[in-house]
Point group: C2
Chain length 184, copies 2
Amino acid sequence: MLKHGILGLLNYADMNGYEILETFRHSLNHFWNAQKSQVYRELTALENAGYIQGTWIEQDGKPDKKLYSITDDGRVELLEWLSEDLKESTRIPLLMKTFFLGEKSLDENIAFFEKLKNSYQKRYKGFVEADQSQDRYGDELQDAYKSMFWGFTISYGRRRSKMVVEWCDECLSQLEETKNAKRS
Amino acid sequence: MLKHGILGLLNYADMNGYEILETFRHSLNHFWNAQKSQVYRELTALENAGYIQGTWIEQDGKPDKKLYSITDDGRVELLEWLSEDLKESTRIPLLMKTFFLGEKSLDENIAFFEKLKNSYQKRYKGFVEADQSQDRYGDELQDAYKSMFWGFTISYGRRRSKMVVEWCDECLSQLEETKNAKRS
DNA sequence: TTAATCATGTAACACGTTACATGATTGC
DNA sequence: GCAATCATGTAACGTGTTACATGATTAA
């Protein structure tokens, strides 16, 4: 999975590991959190598989870097992945916890959902701002068609955050109702 | 993560591996897809850690089974997990693919989102029906408070499916717009 | 007789996380 | 002098997936 993400980025431009990590951090971070160690490991694996090739570049005033570019085989692999059906493995840690919340008290659970709501409300605001500032990656790409899909991922993030906030509201109102019913 | 799910289930009732798998399949499947091999592995690990203990039960007409029950240490571990902050590792395969869809044609991408919309529409209907039939797990639990949280997970599933369908609509209308713009 | 259900697992691999490890240059 | 930026990785562990492997009983 990460493998294909890296191939996708190298298909846009040659990059070294550090730049790939930066790109993940500023453009893909809302849907993929890439770890340093994993990126370097995948780069090695991808090079061994012949999907990318790296060249060491000397720099002055900075450490040497290994610049990777995608190969023809890599491009084929990328397109194959894009054509495959996506296999969505549903694993939602939030719901795993929610499912067993019956072990905790009403008040603890109200606090749980309030905290959650708060954090997603912040995320939501972040997405709305990103949308308005018509920003970074969309501009970097300089290709209206490609940047449209970047926009789609932002839109998903916005909708998802909103959905979670609304879900929290629903949970909270049911919890409050239960609390009131107990009191009377 | 799965580890705590198993602890949670064993906290409700003693079960063997097969029953745990069945429970995942009919009650937790919409947010957690547990593999056989992993469940058996976790059960062994959990027993070695002292969080659960298993006893072999002979049955007639059926294979022997190993019935597990949670220990006091296991219950402590479960409650600790419930109190911890949840660490949500955002990794959304759907968006990873979406991000790089610029490599494919307009028509292919329209087909992609239509297929996706279709599958989430089906899921959505499934959730709505599950909601109305006031069903399985909620009844099994026989505990209004606990089954409320099960209901929360269903509600999340319903909202999420709906959100994805709406997102697909947005993507599709933008793609269609681009298509029309090209034609003229 | 054949498929489904009940029941257990192992082996190998793939993918993700956390901690450790190094070191030069630049700006405050 | 200290933190940030640029740049590379390894080691160990944890978690998830795929394929393989076995075998009895029951219902169509």
